[in-house]
């Protein structure tokens, strides 16, 4: 289940990044040779993403090495962070509810 989530997230990010790459090539913001190198890099790195940690590492690398992806990655991270915060809140509420139910049953 966790793996599937990571894969889905990985594919989504790769998809977005590829779109950005194509746009950059179309707008001549990127030399075709550089585009080829980036594409090769992405294909190689994609194989190494197996879990959340390696995914984050990949995103950090991409944001650090390649300017054109930095904006997207940062946005994605913020979103992830927000999601994580929301999840945390949900977990908190859930645990509080569980605690309340337990108290009442006692």
């Amino acid at each position: 289940m966790q793996n599937q989530l990571v894969e889905a997230k990985r594919d989504l990010i790769i998809h977005k990044i590829t779109g950005i790459l194509l746009d950059a090539l179309q707008n001549d913001d990127l030399e075709p040779e550089d585009g080829a190198i980036i594409a090769g890099y992405l294909l190689e790195r994609k194989k190494q993403i197996t879990d959340e940690k390696s995914l984050n590492q990949f995103m950090n690398e991409v944001a650090e090495k390649l300017d054109i992806f930095r904006g997207f990655i940062n946005l994605q991270k913020e979103k992830d962070s927000q999601n994580s915060l929301d999840n945390q809140k949900l977990e908190d509420i859930k645990s509080q509810l569980v605690e309340l139910a337990r108290t009442q049953s006692n």
Binding site: L25, P32, E33, A36, I37, A39, L43, E44
Partner: protein, 664 residues
């Protein structure tokens, strides 16, 4: 600095280099990729991305996928390698046998490369072709491949190499894209088409007008026909006369035939009557008057019948008719022979006339010559352009069919550059070591050179020769020999330092390697080799001159007044003296016995024995050395005097003084 020696690539070196070839360390997509301006790649990637095939899009951008389909490349090959065109003028499948072969081989080779570039499948034929190509064209790879035992092993090596070499793959991909990019065919084809048109136009233009040569030929044919006709002139005149007579009779023959028809019956009747009368006349044979009268009557009747108009007209007409028939017969006999001649002449005349008219109406002879020249030039240009086209197509075919070979060459050369760099670095290091080693050997040789003027000497110790037969140990040393040092000093004085060096240079190897000098073969070689270096020569001649001067002194030689003056009067001399003194000091420090002698002399200083001791032969040698030592102390100018004085028999007290002043 010495130049790096050329590295000969031996089989061992080749293998060494091949082993040193770095395995590719680039990722598969580091090289190649989307060529600048290659929109086809970008469009393919965009298309794949739009259809959700993200990975495919990335592969396309990375250059892992060739942007031209098989149909694209087939079309490109036709465009480049075929000159045939369809009804619409578009390039079509070739009809020429060579072009067919080229198109087919190109298509096959290209698909092999595509198969490898996109799917990583190595066609065994491609591997074999690469093996053959490399064995022929790359000496290093040939050495490596030839060292493999079988063709299968060589193929396997090649397959492994190209699978592992990402440079090869990337280069093959790039060459594929470059060489099979849709575009124009051979450039020369335009020239060929234009020149073909030009030749056709000129040919048509020249065909419209009669060439001058045609007219001349027609005239000559007419002359021949006329000559043949003249040869039959008599018959010809007969025929013409007969034909004229016939023509004259033509107008009468109608009325003649009419007369014959009209009078034919009357003529027949009268002819019968005349025949009867002649019969009657034959029957009257008597001679009487009655018979005579009858005969006269009958003859008169016959005459009367013969003068009958019908009878006369018929005869006349008959004559004309017969004449006419005869004339016709004669014409019929002559005409078959003569008419063809006449007809030929008439035909030739008409031809000449027609051609004359054409010539008159067409190009002037000058214009015609010009056009003909233009046509010839155009034909030559066309032939050249066709050759160029052929060459261009062969070159294009080669480029298309040798993608793998060229990619391999680039990959190997790239690897070799690295490997060769390392190899050369090692070689340079070795050369540096060699150089140092050579210098070291040369120095050894240099040290031994001075042995040339030395002699082997045995030291039997304090008991002298008496111990020799008792088996006492002896020490063999090399000591300067006065005769030898003197001879060389004379060379030095006359030929200078360089003269001395040349003199030593002329000493044969056998002598240098002999017991006296003791050089090894390597030392002799190094010495001879180093002599090519002018700096070395200069250094060596300086050193040898100094050594010689010192050894001369050590061997008992004296600087007489003349020698010292000669030396001190020149920079060379001053230099020699300085060098000699320096050497003398070293030598003195190395010879304890001399030190002892010096000490002995010093101990005698101020006594009556001093001069007596000094005059002893063993001290005479030291006296000379001391002269040199003294020179060091008092400087070259005074040294001249000092040495000069020291070299004389009356100079000993002064020498002593100088000696003491030095040692004090």
């Amino acid at each position: 600095m010495a130049a790096t020696p050329d590295i000969q690539i031996s089989r061992q070196a080749a293998r060494g280099i091949a082993e040193m070839m770095p395995r590719p360390d680039v990722t598969p997509t580091m090289i190649g990729g989307m060529a600048a301006g290659d929109r086809a790649v970008f469009e393919d990637a965009r298309k794949a991305f739009a259809s959700g095939q993200v990975e495919q899009a990335l592969h396309t951008i990375a250059g892992d996928i060739i942007p031209y389909s098989q149909q694209d490349t087939e079309r490109t090959i036709i465009t480049k390698l075929s000159t045939a065109r369809d009804a619409d003028g578009r390039k079509a499948n070739p009809t020429d046998a060579r072009e067919i072969t080229r198109v087919n081989t190109a298509g096959t080779e290209v698909e092999r490369v595509r198969q490898f570039a996109e799917q990583g499948i190595v066609d065994p034929v491609m591997a074999d072709e690469l093996v053959n190509y490399m064995r022929t064209n790359n000496p290093i790879m040939r050495e490596v491949l030839d060292s493999l035992p079988t063709a299968a092993a060589r193929r396997a090596y090649m397959e492994r190499y190209i699978r592992e070499s990402q440079t090869f793959k990337a280069e093959a991909m790039q060459l594929f894209k470059d060489r099979l990019a849709p575009g124009d065919g051979p450039k020369s084809e335009v020239d060929v088409i234009r020149l073909r048109q030009q030749v056709a136009d000129l040919t048509a233009e020249l065909a419209l007008v009669t060439p001058r040569g045609d007219l001349d030929r027609a005239r000559r044919a007419l002359d021949r026909a006329q000559a043949a006709k003249v040869a039959r002139a008599v018959e010809q005149s007969q025929l013409e006369a007969t034909q004229r007579q016939l023509t004259n009779l033509e107008s009468q023959i109608g009325s003649t035939d009419a007369s014959l028809a009209r009078y034919d019956a009357e003529h027949t009747r009268i002819e019968a009557e005349i025949t009867n009368r002649n019969s009657d006349l034959a029957l009257i044979t008597g001679a009487d008057p009655a018979d005579e009268a009858n005969r006269i009557r009958i003859r008169r009747e016959i005459n009367s019948l013969q003068s009958n108009r019908a009878y006369v007209e018929w005869d006349r007409a008959r004559g004309i008719r017969d004449n006419y028939d005869n004339l016709q017969t004669r014409v019929a006999a002559l005409a078959p022979t003569l008419n063809p001649l006449n007809e030929a002449v008439a035909r030739r005349e008409a031809e000449v006339k027609r051609l004359e008219e054409q010539v008159n109406q067409g190009l002037s002879p000058q214009d015609r010559l010009k056009k003909e020249s233009e046509l010839r030039v155009a034909q030559q240009n066309l032939a050249d352009a066709q050759d160029r086209l052929e060459a261009e197509m062969i070159s294009m075919h080669r480029n298309i069919t040798h993608i793998a070979q060229d990619a391999m060459t680039t990959a190997i050369n790239g690897s070799l550059e690295d490997a060769k760099g390392k190899y050369l670095e090692k070689a340079r290091e070795q050369a540096g070591k060699d150089k140092t080693e050579k210098d070291r050997v040369a120095l050894l040789a240099q040290d031994k050179l001075a042995n040339i003027w030395k002699r082997r000497d045995r030291d039997y110790g304090r008991f002298g020769l008496g111990r020799r037969w008792l088996g006492a140990t002896t020490l063999t040393t090399l000591r300067p020999d006065l005769n030898r040092t003197t001879r060389r000093m004379n060379v030095l004085m006359t030929g200078g330092k360089d003269g001395l060096l040349r003199d030593i240079e002329a000493v044969p190897d056998t002598e240098l390697m002999g017991r006296g000098v003791g050089m090894t073969q390597a030392e002799v070689t190094a010495f001879r080799d180093k002599l090519k270096d002018s700096q070395f020569r200069s250094d060596l001649s300086n050193r040898l001159s100094g050594e010689l001067a010192t050894d001369y002194l050590l061997s008992g030689g004296n600087f007489n007044q003349g020698v010292v003056r000669a030396m001190a009067g020149s920079p060379l001399g001053v230099e020699l003296i300085r060098s000699g003194i320096s050497k003398a000091e070293q030598v003195l420090s190395l010879y304890p016995d001399l030190q002892a002698d010096l000490a002995h002399i010093r101990s005698l200083e101020g006594t009556n024995h001093f001069m007596a001791e000094l005059s002893r032969s063993r001290f005479a040698r030291i006296a000379s050395i001391l002269a040199a030592v003294g020179i060091l102390a008092i400087g070259p100018v005074t040294a001249v005097h000092a040495a000069a004085i020291g070299a004389t028999t009356v100079g000993s007290p002064l020498l002593k003084h100088l000696f003491l002043s030095k040692l004090a």
